[in-house]
Subunit: 252 residues, 2 copies
DNA sequence: CGCCTATTCTGTACGGCGTAGAGAGTTAGG
DNA sequence: CCTAACTCTCTACGCCGTACAGAATAGGCG
C-alpha cells in the first residue's frame, strides 16, 4: 500500500536516505553514483561558492551526469539539503571525557558548533523549518544534552539550554561572517565602504537623533573589523550565556 | 526553502530609498505607484504566503502593473527586501519610560522583537549579509542600546548584549514556528505525524544509543506542542539570558 | 504654441531554476 | 530468453530575476 503525499515528500524515503537504505538486490543497470557522492559533491560546491551555487544542474555537472539522473537517488533538492546538513554534523568532535562538569562540556559544544559554521558557512542559510531526524543530528543532540544531564535541570530545561546555546552560536557566526565578508565581496575595504557611505548617512540623519547608536556602532564596528575579535566576542557572549545557565543550575 | 539575500548594489540609491528621496520635479509621465505602495504590497504577500511567494511578477500583478515597471522604483529584488525589513521595524513600540532599570527595558526589547517575528515570520528567512542602514533599523538599534546604557558596560559590551538578545529571539521564534507549522503544512496533526514516523525511526535506531535525546526530545516535543508553551519557553530562556547579563553588570 | 528630452511603463527575451514525463539502454529473475 | 525493474537522457513546462528596445507621457524651453 502506498500513501499519497501531496504537499511534503515521503517521510519513509528520506528516512531511508538519512539512515542508509538496506541494500536490496537491484534489477536494472548498476548505479553509476551513490547518494554519498551526490551529497559530497553538493557540499563541496556549497563550501566553495555558497548555497546559492548549489543547483541540481551544477551538482550533476560536477558528477558528469544529467540533472534528472540525480532524482533516481534523491527525491528532490530539499531532501538533498537535509542530507548535506546531517552529513556535516558528523564532523563535530564529541569526546566523552571532558573534565570539569557541565560548563566545560557546554563550552565545547558551543565551540564545536562555531567551528562547524566557519567550515561550512552555508549552514547559516539553511532554513531548518522541519526537524531533520538524521543519525548525526540526533547523535549531536544527544551529545549536547548529555553536557547538562545530571545537573538537576528538568528535561524541558535541558532542551531549552541546549537550544539557547545553539541559537547563540548561530547568531554570533552570522555577525562574525557579515563583518568578515562585508569588505570582501563588495571589492572595497572596510574603510572605503564606510568612507563612501558615511557622507550619505550624514546628509540624511543627524547623529543627535541616535546618539547611542552612533557611538556604540562605531565602537562595535572597530572591534569586529579587528583581526581576531569576532572569536573573542563569541567567547565573551558565551561566558555571559553560561553565567545565566549557572544561575539556574545553582538554584536547583 | 532557503534564505533570501538582501543588500548589494549602489549604496547611494538604496540610501535614498530607505530614507526617502528628496522630491525632485520630474519630467516624464506621473508615476502610477510609489515605493511605499510596492513595499507594502510585497510585505502583504510575504505575510500571507511567505517569502517564497514574493516575486517581482507577483508584486507587480497585485499592483496592476508589469514586473519590469517595478524597476523604475527599485533597483532590484534585494533592495525591495531591504525596504521591507526596514519598514516592518517601524512597528515595534519604543516607550521611553519603562520603569525598573535595564532589565525590564531589555525584556521589552526582546518581547517586541518576538511579537514582530510572529507578525512577520518571513523575517526569519531574511539574511542581511551587509547592514541595512535604514531609519527604522537604526532607530531600533539605538532604542535597544539605550536599554543597557548607563549600566557601566563598555560600548562593545553593550553591542554584544543587544546582539545576544536579538539572536536569542531569532532562534526561539524559529523553534516555536517550526513546532507550530510542522503539522499544518503537512496536513496532519502532530500525533499523526509522529505515529507515522516513529515506527520508521525505531526500525533504524535503537533508543539505547541515544537515551538522553530520546527522553528529552519526547518531553520537549510535548511541551512545545502544548497550546501556549512556546511563549513560556521563550520567557524562560530570556530570563536565563538576562541572568547572565545581570552577572556581568553587577561585576562592574 | 511645439519641440526636446527625461521619465514611466510595456513587451519580449535570455539564461537560470526545480522537476514532470516519455523513452532509450541495461541487467537480474522467471 | 523474455520481461520487468531499474538507471539515465532528452525535452519541456512554468517559474524566477532582469536586460533591452521601444511606445506613451509630460515638464522645460524656444
Amino acid at each position: 500500500m502506498t500513501t499519497e503525499y501531496s504537499g511534503g515528500s515521503d517521510p519513509k524515503r528520506i528516512m531511508e536516505l538519512l539512515w542508509g537504505a538496506p541494500e536490496r538486490t537491484r534489477r536494472g543497470p548498476k548505479p553509476r553514483l551513490s547518494v554519498e557522492q551526490i551529497v559530497a559533491a553538493a557540499t563541496a560546491i556549497a563550501d566553495a561558492e555558497g548555497l546559492a551555487a548549489v543547483s541540481m544542474r551544477r551538482v550533476a555537472e560536477r558528477l558528469g551526469v544529467t540533472a534528472m539522473s540525480l532524482y533516481t537517488y534523491v527525491p528532490g533538492k530539499a531532501e538533498l539539503l537535509d542530507l548535506m546538513l546531517d552529513r556535516v554534523c558528523a564532523e563535530t568532535a564529541k569526546p566523552d571525557d571532558v573534565p570539569g562538569g557541565w560548563r566545560p562540556r557546554l563550552e565545547l559544544v558551543a565551540r564545536e558548533a562555531w567551528a562547524l559554521y566557519l567550515r561550512h558557512p552555508w549552514l547559516l542559510h539553511l532554513a531548518t523549518n522541519r526537524p531533520v531526524l538524521g543519525p548525526n543530528l540526533i547523535a549531536r543532540y544527544d551529545y549536547e544534552l548529555r553536557a547538562v544531564d545530571g545537573t538537576g535541570l528538568t528535561d524541558v530545561e535541558m532542551d531549552l539550554v541546549v537550544q539557547m546555546v545553539g541559537d547563540y552560536v548561530h547568531g554570533a557566526v552570522r555577525g562574525a561572517l557579515a563583518a568578515a565578508t562585508l569588505p570582501v565581496d563588495s571589492g572595497k575595504t572596510d574603510d572605503e565602504w564606510w568612507a563612501e557611505l558615511s557622507p550619505l548617512l550624514e546628509k540624511v540623519y543627524d547623529a543627535d537623533r541616535f546618539p547611542v547608536a552612533t557611538r556604540v556602532g562605531a565602537a562595535a564596528g572597530q572591534e569586529y573589523s579587528a583581526p581576531l575579535d569576532p572569536a573573542r566576542a563569541f567567547e565573551f557572549g558565551l561566558a555571559r550565556l553560561l553565567d545565566g545557565v549557572a544561575a539556574l543550575i545553582e538554584r536547583r
